[in-house]
Structures are given as C-alpha cells and as structure tokens.
Amino acid sequence: MKFLSVEKAYGPTVEGEALVSEEGFSPRYDLDRWSGLITRPGHRLEGASIVDKVCFFPSAKGGIAAGWAFYDIKWKKIAPKAFIFGVTNPVMVQGAVFAGIPITAGWTPHPREVVKTGDWVRVDPGRRLVEVMRAGSR
C-alpha cells in the first residue's frame, strides 16, 4: 500500500477523499466560509470544495483569523476530514486542535508521488501515517 509518513500529527483516525493542492492554503484568503469552496481568483484549486475531504497543502498562508475559521466551518458542517500540511504554522494547528479536526505536518515522500485528488485515504495521527486505501475513479 502507498503511504506518507508525517512528522507531527494530532487527532483521531479518519478516512476520506483526497484533495491534493500544489498551492498553499488559508481558510481566510482562499476559502468561501459559507460554501466550503476555494474562491480566491487564481488559486490552483479555485472552484474545488474542501468539504469532507482530506486536504493536502504544501504550506500554510497568513493569518491569525484562521484559528476561529476552522471552528466556524466545523460548526457549519463544511469542514474537511483532515489537513495534511507540508509545512504549517501555529495558527493552523491551534485552529485544527480547537475544532477537533485532525492535522499533520511534514511529509515523506511528497504527496505528488503517491496520492492524487479523488483517491480514498486514511489519516492515522497515532501512527504518523497517511495511507492511500484505493485509487480514485478518475
């Protein structure tokens, strides 16, 4: 089975459909917090939904406001299943822990080598693993 090892992790084990981004992420700069769609013009995932996805982002962008935003989107039931970051910042972690959303940081190998958008993946923070359970249909 294909898998990623992650360096840091929080949260329970979850499964979901992968959404793999080549661009970093901020729930404030990039996301419409009412629909769960990435709406910033020009974002490489513009138009994609993060709802119930396992989101892979190489980096975290900006802002303190993200801390409340994760709790807000969880409450609105438009949160992702988990955040898998290459490099992250404290706000993402503080926000995810506050909202109870699993989050990891640091990955080997790079996700582009093992996982594609649409694949079904399992995030296991306890074992510091993200496993690709089956390939997506596209």
């Binding site: 840091k8 992790a9 929080y10 970093g24 901020s26 404030r28 700069y29 990039d30 996301l31 419409d32 917090r33 709406t39 910033r40 013009p41 020009g42 980096s59 975290a60 962008k61 900006g62 802002g63 303190i64 406001a65 993200a66 801390g67 409340w68 935003a69 709790y71 807000d72 969880k74 409450w75 609105k76 490099v87 992250t88 910042n89 404290p90 706000v91 972690v93 503080q94 926000g95 822990v97 506050f98 989050i103 940081a105």
Partner: protein, 408 residues
C-alpha cells in the same frame, strides 16, 4: 510535558473550569510542536469579533462566560469587524452588529481590554527584549519578535484567549532561541521611499519563502527605517510568507553581525520593486475603491494622508476608506487631520480593519466594486477571498486615483 505545581493545580480545576479547559487545549497544541513546558506570558493580544468567530465562536464565548472565565494577565483585542457609527451606512447586518456588541460586552466582563487595534505595538503596549507574550494578528507578532525582541508565536483567537485564562503559553517556535536565528539574507539596494515599497519587499521575500520558520536578515539599507516602514514590511512578510520574525542589521536588537553563515542571499533593487507594481492586472479599470487599512493607520500616517488629501475631493461615485484605532482617531481629530480627510470625502472607520468588515462581500456586490486599490501589500493579498481584484500602489498614487478616478 513538564508541568509546574501551579499548572497541575489549574488542570485539577482549582482555578475554575474555563482555565482547566484552556490549559488542556494548550497542552494538546504544545504536544504537536514538541513543547517541553509552558512559559508565563505578561501580555495577551487576541482576535475576537463576529466576522472571524461566527456563531460557533460566539456560542463558545457564551459558554466561557457561564464558566466565569477571567483573564489572568493583561489582555487586549485586535481590530474588529464593526464600527458602530458607520454600520448602518455600510449596510452591515443588524443581527450581526448586535452579536458584535454582545462579544464586546462578554469580553469586557472577562476583563479583556477591548482596544480594537492591530497596532497595539504602536499605541498600547511595547514589550521589551526577551519578554514572552501571546499575540495575534500576525502583524503584531512579527513586530514584537523583530523590532522589540519580545517572544511570541502567532496566537490565533482561541489560543490567545487560552493564554489569557492561564497566563502562559506552550514553549515552542519563537519562544526558543533556536528558531530566532536568521535563515537567509536580503540585501536592500532600493530606495524604498513609500510605505507601499516596504510592503512590496515583504511580498517579494514572503512569496519566495512561505515558511513560518524562515527568518530573513535585511542588510545594506542606507537609512534608518521608521516604525511605520517596519510595520508595513512586517505585515507583508507575515501575510505573504507566514513569517513571524525578521532581522534588520543595525536596527533590530537580535540582528546578527556576521552574515557569512547565511548561504541563501537575495537582493532587492529598484527593478524588483517596480516589477511588483507592474504585476497587477488593472481588471476593468474600475477605480472607485481606495483603502488605507491593514494595518490600521498610525498618527504619522494620518498626518501624511491629510497632507495629500488637503483641499482635494474624492471623485464622485468613488469611495475611500481609512481605518485606525480610537486613540489615533482622537488625536487625529484634535489635530485637524481627521477633519481634512472627511472634507475630502474620506470615510474614517474606527477600531476595525477593512478586510474583516462584516458583510464585505455583500458590500462589494452592492457597490459593484471590482477593483480595490491600496498602499498596503498585506490587504492587497488577503482580501482575495472576497473576490476583489487588488492593486498595490504608492500612497500618493492611491490618493491621486481616489481623486481622479483614473487607475494607472
């Protein structure tokens, strides 16, 4: 994690349920980062308004109030999303405005000092070298770490609030010496004569290094930068690069003397700065929205804007917004700067930031704004999710655009 006897007492509920939950949460965050202990903080600056918190955050705060949550250290608030004097005119939602009032009242009952400013470091509290604090907005953190030599991570609203209740924060990141060293150098050969130029530097450096733990070391600059220049530089680095610290040789207290250990070197000259300005699409040419915000304006910035807008008028049909805090506005009013701006047709908003204004997307649609012009590289970056096409211009150019209606 090693806990002191006091921390064990908090966990045992001896300081109340709110403090117990807060510390439990902090320990979880600390574990993620490998923190070995918590450090006492002397000051907390938190973001908490209805636009960022939403109903979920408001409900959380109500629960904290029921638990009789109380700040253990001096705590202030960041810019918020409603200026009550302007909310009707801006078409902000009355129900959300009422919630904003409730948040303010609730925070005050918990002993939070609602300063509503993102320039606390210019107007409220200046921590000293080595002082541990728990601050958010990112612009406040990078200024505290870099210019004062104080120590803070980015503390999101819930994290800063937890620090207020426990009087401490997990020790990781910029609380530790090992993360405060420079990681690459940036030689500044450009003149950087306008605040927007400093933001442009932050954009160039930040975009090329999107990493919280990257710490640029600026050198080669031939003039002493002002506080406002460092503020725009820091705000942009934090925004584009998610960075929390920079050094500036000859200026900031922890800047290294020897740069030879830094392998990566970046050079920024006039050409690079001009390339930032020429990179913006002018979209449909709409020049009806000019904003001076993100961070709020300091008194010197208000003075300069008043000079530029003196005896001029905003183009009919256009809007120009300036945001600042209550302290600066009081002085700017007494000194006549605010009056000059208002005579020109500028709307001065107090205690808010333009980009977190409640109902901003609806405001954009209603006014059919497509472009937003600003001298702040930070706000030009962060307002994208509201579907503005944004354009960075120098301060005097922004004023010219606001008054002429012509976008260049």
């Amino acid at each position: 994690m090693e806990l002191t006897s006091e921390e064990r007492a908090i966990l045992a509920g001896k300081h109340g349920e709110a403090a117990r939950r807060a510390l439990e949460y902090q320990i979880e965050v600390g574990r993620f980062w490998g923190a070995r202990r918590l450090v006492p903080v002397s000051n907390v600056h938190m973001m908490g308004d209805i636009e960022v918190m939403g109903d979920a955050g408001l409900e959380y705060l109500r629960e904290e109030a029921r638990l009789e949550a109380r700040c253990r250290v001096p705590t202030t608030t960041n810019a918020r999303c409603v200026d009550f004097a302007h909310c009707d005119k801006l078409g902000q939602d009355p129900a959300e405005v009422a919630k904003e009032r409730e948040i303010i009242a609730t925070l005050r009952r918990m002993d939070v000092v609602t300063t509503d400013t993102c320039i606390n470091y210019q107007t409220v509290y200046q921590p000293h070298l080595g002082e541990h604090v728990a601050w958010g907005d990112t612009g406040t953190v990078i200024y505290a770490n870099s210019v004062f030599g104080a120590r803070s991570n980015f503390e999101a609203g819930p994290a800063a609030f937890a620090a207020a209740l426990t009087g401490r924060t997990p020790e990781y990141g910029f609380h530790l010496d090992e993360h405060r060293r420079g990681t690459f150098s940036v030689e500044l050969k450009a003149n950087l004569s306008d605040l927007a130029d400093w933001g442009a530097v932050g954009k160039l450096v930040g975009e090329a290094h999107q990493d919280y733990f990257a710490v640029p070391v600026f050198h080669g600059y031939r003039r002493t930068p002002t506080a406002d220049e460092l503020k725009h530089l820091g705000a942009a680095l934090a925004s584009y690069g998610s960075m929390a610290m920079f050094h500036f040789v000859g200026v900031t207290p922890e800047a290294p003397i020897d740069l030879s250990f830094l392998s990566e070197k970046m050079v920024i000259g006039e050409k690079e700065i001009e390339s930032v300005y020429s990179s913006y699409s002018l979209g449909d040419g709409d020049a009806r929205l000019v904003v001076f915000s993100g961070p709020q304006q300091s008194l010197p910035e208000m003075k300069r804007l008043a000079e530029l807008f003196h005896e001029r008028k905003i183009k009919h049909g256009a809007a120009c917004f300036v945001t600042t805090n209550g302290a600066v506005l009081a002085q700017a009013s007494a000194l006549g700067y605010a009056g000059t701006l208002q005579e020109a047709g500028v709307t001065i908003l107090e205690g808010v930031c333009f980009y977190i204004l409640q109902n901003l997307s609806a405001m954009r649609s209603r006014n059919r704004w497509t472009n937003m012009v600003s001298n702040s590289a930070k706000i030009v970056n962060i307002i994208g999710a509201h579907r503005f096409n944004t354009i960075l211009r120098r301060t005097a150019d922004c004023v010219e655009i606001a008054c002429s209606g012509v976008l260049r």
